[in-house]
Amino acid sequence: MVMHLIDSLMKGIKILYVDSDEKRAVDIESKAEGDQDLSRSLFYVASNSQEASKLVRQQNIDICIYPDGLDGHDFVYIQKELQAANPKIKIIPLIGKVVTLKQINEFRQSVSVISFANNDILGNFDAIKNQILNAVREIQIRQAKESSNWVDKIQSSLLIDHEDWRQVKFLSSMALHFMLPKFDLSAIEKNNLEIAESIYFPWVQADRYSTIINDDNILAVLKESGSWKENRSPQSFPGLIITLANYAALNFQEHQTLNQVIESVKTRANFLKHQSIRSIGQDIIEHLENAFVGIKQKKAA
């Protein structure tokens, strides 16, 4: 028998819905709390911009959906207020039919705006939910795109003197890609893991990552990683999984099999020693090996 957890896409994501009609906001909040798709998120509501900014700041809101004209301000003004409260926030403004060119320009330049919709969806739970779900997928795509430039640069600089690792990193990112769907991670967590994996190298000391990047979430994953070079044990599931992806990639690169990885997982070598290692079975390792072989054959062809 196997039991499946509820879909992980929205796990732990903090959403704020702002509506000056307090009753409507409460209604949307109670529907969101009872909705299967959103049940793993944390859904907050506010009825004015001041309350919204306070929540964004205190609770570190990920996504905010709010109407144009809130408290007499246009959506660009509120967007700035929310960004001031949390620079990483993604927003979905609900705009009216009349929008000025200046507003559109401001709007285009902002990295916070993830999508927008007509303000006639206010109070319509299904429409709001769709906006949120689409936004999360969009965040995932956009974050991957946005990060690729700077991540590549960091990776390249860390690969100086380690050219042999270029192919390993290709395989490790593939390994992570194959493993992620099996685990209970939200869209944002998956993104953070992928970025962290790109920058992970076993010879880098955990503390040194803070001199390389300044994103707290990605930094946390890297600092909690393990290392067979440093005999460092992972401190979290994300830390374990990026260590394992790299260790598996290196082993395959060197030996064309993952026997050593299976052995390390079974014996719980210190660099993989974390409770979550229990979730890595021989089946996952074999799955990875098959995938690596496939990639290699494809490349050869």
Binding site: H4, L5, K23, D27, S276, S279
Partner: protein, 647 residues
Amino acid sequence: MSNVLRLVQTEDSCKDRQSFDQSIDACITLNGNNHAVTVIDTFSFGEIIISMASKLSFIVKGELVSIDLKDPVLFGGLWRVHDIRENDERCIINLRHEFYDFAIPYKSYLGPEIFYKENQIHLMHEKNELSQHITELKDSPIRPKAAIKDQTRKGVQAKWNFSNQQIALDAFEFESNTPEVFRPGQEILVEYNFLAKRFLFLTKVREIDSDFGLIITELPEYFLTINRRLNNRISCNLPALDSGNGEAQTLISYSPKALLFAGPTPKTGSNIIIKFANMTEVTLKVKITHDENKWLGFPTNTRENANAMRHLFLKCMPDDIKARDQNDHEKLLGLFEQVGYDFSATDSKWREKSIQAWSCIDEEIQGTTLSKIESSGKYIASCGVFPHGKFCFGPHSGCMIKSMDAASGFFEILNYIFNFSEYFEHTNFFFASYSKKSKMTSRMYHLYDQQSNPSEFYLFHALTIFNNSQKNAYNKDAPADLRIEYVSHLDAKLDSFHENIQKVARIVGEPQDYIPSLKITWALLFKNQEVDPVALVHIHDSPAYSSSIDLYNSLMIWVKDPAMSTAIVSYLLAQPNLKNKVINLIEGDGSEQPNQKENEANSDQAFYSLTHKRDLNILAGSISRTAWQVLRKYGEDALYEMEKICL
């Protein structure tokens, strides 16, 4: 209902079989027909034996019957006919609970009383429900502690562990300091509490991981869940005196159903009177001895005792929960002002009138309002409770400031409020009105509807109109074609109203005599000389501002035809004795929300609910879940508060 019967509701009652010496009147329902029966044995696990005057040929083995005892707190639910035997004149039927087959493996871990209360036990076996529960446990910032027991009921404390991050779980993991006490293949029971429910499942140990201190179990096919007892015990330390023999006692824990004492145990079965310092005496029947130095007393069921128990309950409250008295009126008014229950703009005497009303009511009955106090002495949450009528009681004036401590305190008070059902003799329903603007109440009832199956529950939508505004849409000439008739009793004229309205009217309409200054009268409204009324009016009178929105100076108007609402409300407000009342307008059968008038400046959409006393534990569970949802949004700061509520 005799006092002795209450024993079956206590934790250890099943040990005391001999005390169950009286038969219980009950009725079973089969194919919609009720049949009187006598319950003659309830102590077999998941079974009851009933006796009927004669065999009814239509009762056959395997059939599900609904059973209902006269005291609805005790029995209910569906039972399957297992065996039928006939004596000379009587027919003896052995019934088994609908979950008997699922519950029987748990016999050595559970007492038979879990089957008695309807909605007490629930079987969780559907895939969706199970995965939702496990996901919720995993996402909870508070990890429930589980007791893992072997067949001898010995075991260890362990904590749910979700470090295995797989989406597809094929085992459960528990963290323990001593996992080695179990061995692979061993049969175990896992038991834990979460959000006011007790969860149990039987399974096998798959593996012991000493390296990480883990007990890994097989997945069970189903979980049993049991709603928590409604009246949790409150720890206290109050001196008492056994007036029978003059020996000193100490009350160490309190619940409305049973008092636990430390002191010399009186003789089992004796009636004794305990005198508490500065308090009314409480008469108890001594029933169960726990050990040499502790004993349980069960309050006898008299009105005087109920009052004394209520006094005692207030004494046992935690230090930061306070019953309203003359010293805290100003602080309570301060809280009311802060949350928007401030009527000084429309009534300059609001504060004085409120204090007068509270003083009057507190003299008649103490402790009808509980407040949560911050360490600084500030009042941050409060809720009142009144017997609305003879058959129902309910909360009023619920409020809290917007803070984590206030939210936690408010939910704590709500749970204490439920205790009051024990102190009003005939109250069987919890009657509550809620503003639809209130986040907390909307959420609470949304969950209650979705996640439980209350046995008797009425919900109706209302429009509350505060008649203190000149802009009121109803302030115009009264229609001439209506006439009002005041009635002393609800009679057959109710027949023309919707069935649910009749039921609700009869539940909420019977006057109570616990608080003489709260009065209920009735009126019917007729059009011209027509015989059938067009509206039923429930008139509440009380000292002004006895509750926050003056709910007890209100009219509850049940209008048959929504098209007549405006005329009827206008007519009633033109009556000199009714013109200052708050109005609660309910249209038709109450299933639709009455429309707010466009120029109506001072009205509020609301809903009313009537929950049977036997379902209050479900409501309490819904409150816990609501509290959890509210508090978890405060993040890590709320962990301690959440732990108090969730586990």
